[in-house]
């Protein structure tokens, strides 16, 4: 005969008929299906069946179900709540307190009962409370730790995950956050696949778009017939160039692109039409149904040929409609001092030609965008962009709507490196297709399309002349540069300047002249890639300096010391002010770490060491379109719950800029990192930031965050000071607290501090901060281009082993030292240095955009366009040099681009050291290296 028993199980009344001999454990496991409670022995020996009955731990196998009538029973299933696992559960996981896990349910309930009665249990108390729970796997230590950790979390609520995960070491002297090795905020979400990139977003009724792309490098579009495509079932919108004719371009003076080709195509792969359909397959099918009648024109592919008088014109008119007579898109010529005289007087002159191959960014995430219009006619575009602000402006202009009717949201971006730093066809296409179709539209590039979108490193040809006096001082540099721009302007005007303007440090020249010409060709457009425009000329400069050093019998590292800009307050030959330059310290670091002095002279044949240096901007003094508004701003909102939210339009692309903002705000306000949120990359919610380019974010958004943080911190300080009755100047802070500097015992936690500040203000807490453009740069036309608030410096030593039978170069090691001013977080700085070094070596060794005679890109996959794998990447020994810049926040400069530059010439110099062959053409493929070795004839072949 069964008996009715009503139990309050995990807060829910359950009545069931149970045989009177059933234990509570049987009733739970078989009657209620709650199998979390385990049966380990069924006789009271192991504790695996522990549950709470009216809050008290009880062995469920030892009590009859009927005796629990009307009581509250808590099982393991009831420990977690809607917010997720309880602290004790998380703590068990974090501490690795489990192995097989069978004892865990009982353990956790025993521990919960303990924590409920004793919020700060001693180790003895923990042991005592768990003494009835046997574990056969763990040896218990970790379990005790877990209980203690959970107790701490319960006493000091906060983000448990964040707190344990973030702090890995102490901060710099005098700071509580700055300088500490901290984990990035999104690390766990990325490791679990939870972070959402653009292509991970799905909107209701969303359509998928595809492009029809040009098969010709140069052709006039005579007509386009889209009727068959439109008629295909499942197709909702078809778009051609004539529907979106407003031209755009990242530089406001040179808007020479349209979303889809209008009138003619200028490279193979240029988008001609776009289709939105129910799925990608249907869209692709529709694209194949579009017929285009072409008038095929001869293409011009070689940049030198492009300058011939009879060369076909890539653009027949400029953006204003004025006829063009040549493919020259920008020419810059600047001269500083009497270069010819200096060359004539020089003790050594190197005069030769160098070729820098084009390379592309190849982020692992292909570009993706989603467009959606709301019923009131407002457009939202989600895009994998690194320049949300410029995209916002250009979308409005091209689509012919007010800027206030456009919102750009940038989800997590899977790598960019400059390859997502201007508007692209897909962003306009999703917006326009979505407007036509009345439904959201997503476009994800194929990997092949990423290669056509390109905007990568410009191929450059150099005629480079350099002279030095007998002591090794560089007295003259004369550089004639031809840039292959590809089909459009992109950042071209800036690139043409950067190729010359950014070369003048850390090696200081006596006199300097350059001419730089960027030409159009019928190939995918080149643009900015990590180290925009300034990576290429380092190749001739730093290899030629090496050659001079050898001719004069000067050690190559010493040669760079002789010529370095001063450590403080230097001015370059072209008039750029360099507040701090740590290149000497960088050279010292790599010289020591690589064992240069001991090894340089004694390496066996085939082995070689090479050195090179560089300098790079930390943001540009002026925004891309002239205006007097701040370049970057941060809005902070303090909440009485103890949290601060920082809003900033910056674009987090994996470099960690969201984290930088959080660290700075935490530093300035004493609010713990776990209580700081950063909202970024959303033009509706965030104040402006111009984007993630030219290494500007830490300098500019960081300065803005610091200013806003100081202001909010001052309010907290004043309010706490008033409360404690001490003068504000005496107040100090550390993470989580404000306290009286003379009596640290008198402290107020950050939650109270925020509440006091809110009360004092009489309104919600909000503060703003900004980076305002100061006047910088030299006083001549172009003198402001390349002017930056601060400049980083870098030195690399690379070691190679060259196989002289095959020309295969193995990079054995690389030592890189980078002066980033102040490392706000040394771990992320190191990450940037390592990533840069890898990328530089990769382009030096194997990356190349190769086109055939018709302009067809030969390598449009990651197999044929080789980038280094982990296997080719040598161990990278990264060193941080902190010159503490007078301008940047806490003395910080940049670390995202500068550390790439020396990799290429250092590698070339190492190959020379190993083989005697001077590499003048990139990349250094086995074939080129073998040919170069044979040319110098160092060994019979």
């Amino acid at each position: 005969m069964k008996q009715l028993v009503t139990l309050q199980i995990n807060g829910e009344a359950q009545t069931s008929a149970v045989p009177p001999h059933w234990t509570l454990l049987e009733a739970l496991r078989y009657g209620s299906g709650l199998t979390g409670s385990k049966q380990g022995c069924d006789k009271g020996d192991c504790g695996a069946c522990t549950v709470l009955v009216d809050g008290q731990p009880q062995l469920a196998c030892c009590s009859l179900a009927v005796t629990a009538q009307g009581k509250a029973v808590t099982t393991i299933e009831g420990v977690a709540d809607a917010r997720g696992p309880a602290a004790i559960q998380r703590a068990f996981d974090v501490c690795g307190a489990l192995q097989c896990g069978f004892c865990q349910p009982g353990m956790i309930l025993s521990a919960s009962a303990l924590l409920a009665r004793d919020p700060d249990p001693s180790l003895e108390a923990i042991r005592e409370a768990l003494s009835g729970n046997l574990c056969r796997c763990t040896g218990y230590t970790r379990i005790y730790e877990a209980v203690a950790l959970a107790a701490r979390w319960l006493r000091e609520p906060g983000d448990m995950r964040g707190e344990q995960a973030n702090v890995m070491g102490p901060a710099a002297e005098g700071f509580s956050v700055v300088g500490a090795p901290l984990r990035k905020r999104d690390a766990i979400g990325k490791a679990t696949g939870e972070v959402r990139f653009t292509d991970d977003l799905v909107l209701p009724r969303m359509l998928h778009g595809k492009f029809l792309r040009s098969p010709h490098a140069h052709a006039r579009i005579v007509s386009i017939d889209t009727s068959a495509a439109s008629a295909l079932p499942g197709v909702f919108a078809v778009l051609v160039g004539s529907e979106l004719t407003t031209s755009y371009g990242i530089i406001p003076w040179t808007p020479d692109e349209t979303a889809l080709a209008v009138g003619k195509v200028r490279y193979i792969g240029e988008a001609v039409a776009a289709v939105a359909a129910v799925d990608e397959d249907t869209a692709m099918k529709a694209c194949r149904l579009i017929t285009v009648t072409w008038d095929v024109l001869p293409p011009v592919l070689d940049p030198e040929r492009a300058l011939d008088a009879d060369a076909p014109l890539v653009h027949e008119a400029d953006p204003k409609g004025r006829a063009l007579s040549s493919n020259l898109c920008k020419e810059v010529g600047l001269s500083f001092g009497d270069v010819d005289q200096a060359l004539a007087d020089a003790a050594v002159v190197i005069d030769d030609h160098w070729t820098y191959a084009g390379s592309t960014h190849a982020p692992i995430e292909p570009h993706c965008a989603i467009g959606s219009w709301d019923p009131d006619g407002r457009l939202t575009v989600w895009s994998s962009t690194q320049v949300g602000h410029y995209l916002h402006r250009e979308l409005a202009r091209v689509l012919g709507v007010a800027e206030s009717a456009v919102r750009v949201i940038q989800p997590a971006v899977g790598g960019a490196f400059g390859g997502k730093s201007e508007p692209f066809d897909l962003e306009f296409a999703v917006a326009a297709l979505s407007r036509k179709a009345g439904r959201p539209v997503k476009i994800l590039y194929t990997r092949e399309e990423v290669f056509y979108a390109h905007r990568g490193r410009h191929p450059m040809r150099f005629h480079f002349r350099i002279g030095a006096d007998a002591s090794g001082k560089i007295t003259a540099v004369d550089n004639d540069i031809l840039l292959d721009g590809g089909a459009y302007h992109s950042f071209g005007l800036v690139t043409a300047y950067y190729a010359g303007q950014l070369l003048s440090g850390p090696i200081d020249f006596g006199t300097y002249r350059f001419r730089s010409r960027r030409v159009y060709t019928n190939k995918p457009c080149n643009g900015p890639k990590r180290g925009h425009g300034s990576v290429q000329p380092r190749f001739p400069l730093e290899t030629a300096v090496d050659e001079i050093a050898h001719r004069l019998g000067i050690d190559p590292i010493e040669m760079r010391r002789i010529n370095a800009l001063p450590e403080r307050g230097g001015t370059t030959v072209n008039g750029q002010f360099v507040p701090s330059c740590g290149v000497r310290a960088c050279l010292d670091a790599v010289e020591a770490a690589s064992g240069w002095k001991e090894r340089y002279a004694s390496l066996p044949p085939g082995r070689g060491l090479g050195v090179a240096t560089s300098m790079y901007i930390s943001g540009t003094a002026y925004p891309i379109y002239p205006n007097d508004m701040p370049q970057s701003a941060v809005v902070l909102r303090g909440d009485r719950s103890g949290r601060i939210t920082a809003f900033c339009g910056l674009n987090e692309i994996g470099q960690g800029s969201d984290s930088v903002i959080a660290w700075i705000v935490s530093e300035e306000t004493g609010v713990p990192l776990s209580c700081i949120d950063v909202v970024s990359g959303d033009t509706d919610l965030c104040p402006v930031d111009l984007g993630a380019y030219s290494s500007r974010v830490t300098m500019m958004a960081g300065t803005a965050a610091k200013e806003a943080g100081e202001r909010l911190g001052a309010r907290m300080r004043d309010a706490v000071a008033a409360k404690l009755g001490v003068p504000p100047e005496r107040m100090r802070r550390r993470t989580g607290f404000w306290f009286d500097g003379d009596d640290p015992e008198r402290a107020v936690d950050h939650v109270t501090a925020l509440r006091l500040a809110e009360a004092a203000a009489g309104m919600p807490l909000g503060e703003v901060g900004a980076f305002r453009t100061r006047k910088l740069g030299a006083d001549y036309r172009g003198g402001t281009i390349g002017a930056s608030p601060a400049y980083s410096a870098t030195a690399h030593v690379v070691e190679v082993d060259v196989d002289r039978e095959t020309g295969v170069v193995k990079i054995v090691g690389v030592w890189a030292a980078h002066d980033c001013g102040r490392a706000i977080n040394p771990v992320t700085v190191r990450g940037q240095i390592e990533g840069s070094v890898y990328m530089g070596l990769s382009e030096a060794l194997m990356e190349e955009m190769v086109h055939d005679g018709k302009g067809l890109l030969k390598a449009t996959s990651l197999l044929d366009y080789r980038i280094m794998t982990s296997m080719d990447t040598p161990p990278i020994d990264a060193h941080i040099v902190e010159s503490i810049d007078p301008v940047g926040p806490y003395g910080a400069k940049e670390a995202g681009e500068g550390p790439l530059h020396p990799a290429i010439p250092a590698l070339a110099n190492a190959i020379w050291h190993a083989t005697g062959a001077r590499m003048r053409t990139m990349p250094f493929t086995p074939e080129r290296v073998l040919a170069a070795i044979r040319a110098v004839g160092t060994r019979e072949q």
Partner: protein, 473 residues
């Protein structure tokens, strides 16, 4: 219809076309943790793990989801990055990536985590070479790899007592893998295969799909039908047979690499530089030979070793010498309805010295500019027999008969080799953007001379460090 397990849950998909890749399906089904970086096996962003059961054992294998055809998953267990954490507790592979800051933009991270996942359960990743190999198929554009490599070192070989280990232990020795669909068959008997081929004479055979998958994702091919060889018995077996080794056409290249380390080092050496781990975990010997690529890396080795292939059809078995197998550019001697069953490799005679080389721009994950395999028999310092085979030197993998003839009777010295190498000019190498004809012939010559330079006895790697060129004892 196909049924498999995804992160522990049974999944049944009806009406799936044989051209649907796992990556496409996962993302379409909202499982967006797995990323698409290229859709052609080059980047590893889509890496997932499959619990694979073959004659060589049961193991979690990292594979590129973009090259897995969904119907081929019948009966298998798949784990993606979303299936690793248990509540807030990260899997060791994830924890390691977090601890080591192995993620910047994070787009490669799910794939990196899954390659680390495979390593967690491997017992043969102690060497630094094996570790390099483990993650070289995951391109990362941000980190410079150091933190990823450190994370790998943290987890490699841990084999924790967890659900994944348990799943591996419990995997059935012979899972029911036979599958069928509208244009798809995965027979598990030979008669089933002949029936399928009789029904669809134009069907595309597929095994690891690392080649066929590319036709699907890149050329958007739709096949009349797809017949998968994956469930056939004995195809994945390695057998010793008197005086030689029989390598089943379905042996995964990663298994072959491990097994040949001792048994046939020259083959292991070549496989060391083949594709990437994710590719080798799916790619098969049969697929590599039957695509008849002029730069297929195994063909020169089998040519040099004087192998024979065993071919089967409804009509019965026949054997074809390797020398007669490649009949033209991407053409083999297989008749319609025939499949390759095994490659039979005789043990090299005691007097033989063998070596294999692959020269490419990148050490891993690259197409050969030139590949070469040599078997030279030397008695008293004089060459008594020579088989010199090359990839990249003609429209098919070829033997250099003229050079072989020149070598026999000559002394086995660098000078003798150089003289014979002159006869390599009889070959007309490919000339394309991957490498010029000049480079290919120069390197072919240098490889032969270099081989002779290596001298007698056990060999160290030829040039300390230039591992793109692997010599083998």
């Amino acid at each position: 219809m196909v049924r498999f397990f995804l992160n522990g849950d049974a999944v049944t998909i009806r009406d799936v076309s044989p051209e649907t890749t796992l990556l496409e399906w996962l993302r379409g089904a909202g499982r967006c943790g797995t990323k698409e970086g290229c859709a052609e096996g080059d980047c590893g962003a889509c890496t997932v793990a499959v619990l694979d059961v073959t004659a060589s054992g049961r193991r979690w294998r990292a594979v590129d989801a973009c090259l897995v055809l969904v119907p081929q998953l019948e009966g298998l267990s798949v784990v993606t990055v979303e299936g690793l954490a248990r509540g807030a507790a990260l899997h060791p592979a994830q924890q390691a990536v977090v601890e080591r800051l192995g993620s910047q933009c994070g787009y490669c991270t799910p794939g990196v985590v899954m390659s680390l996942f495979e390593a967690t359960y491997r017992s043969d990743v102690a060497s630094s070479e094996a570790r390099d190999d483990q993650i070289c198929g995951n391109l990362c554009r941000c980190t410079g790899y150091r933190p990823i490599r450190e994370a790998l070192d943290d987890v490699a070989g841990l084999d924790p007592e967890d659900a994944f280990r348990a799943a591996r232990a419990q995997a059935e020795a012979q899972p029911a893998r036979a599958g069928a669909g509208a244009r798809f068959a995965q027979p598990d008997t030979w008669d089933g295969l002949w029936a399928a081929l009789a029904r669809w004479p134009d069907a595309r055979l597929v095994h690891g799909a690392t080649d066929v998958g590319l036709e699907v994702t890149k050329q958007h091919r739709v096949f009349p039908a797809v017949v998968s060889l994956q469930a056939l018995p004995e195809l994945d077996a390695l057998r010793d047979q008197g005086g030689g080794w029989s390598i089943g056409a379905g042996v995964r290249l990663s298994d072959l690499e491990a097994a040949s380390a001792e048994r046939l080092p020259v083959l292991a050496r070549m496989l060391r530089y083949f594709g990437a781990r994710q590719i080798k975990n799916r790619a098969t010997v049969g697929g590599n030979l039957c695509n008849a690529s002029p730069i297929g890396d195994l063909a020169p080795v089998f040519l040099a070793l004087d192998a024979t292939v065993l071919v089967r059809s409804a009509r019965g078995d026949r054997r074809v010498p390797m020398d007669a197998f490649f009949v033209g550019y991407r053409k083999t001697a297989l008749a319609p309805g025939e499949v390759l069953v095994a490659v039979e490799v005789p043990d090299p005679p005691p007097s033989a010295r063998c070596a294999a080389y692959k020269v490419s721009k990148r050490r891993e994950l690259d197409i050969s500019a030139v590949s070469a395999a040599f078997r030279v028999e030397v008695v008293d310092g004089v060459v008594t027999g020579a088989r010199l085979a090359f990839g990249g030197m003609a429209a098919t993998p070829v033997r250099a008969f003229a050079a072989e003839a020149a070598l026999v009777g000559a002394p086995w010295t660098p000078e003798g080799a150089a003289a014979a190498a002159a006869a390599l000019s009889a070959l007309s190498p490919i000339d394309d953007h991957r490498a010029s004809a000049w480079y290919r012939s120069t390197v072919a010559r240098n490889l032969l001379i270099g081989f002779a330079e290596e001298g007698e006895g056990p060999l160290p790697p030829r040039h300390a460090g230039t591992l793109a060129v692997g010599g083998a004892p």
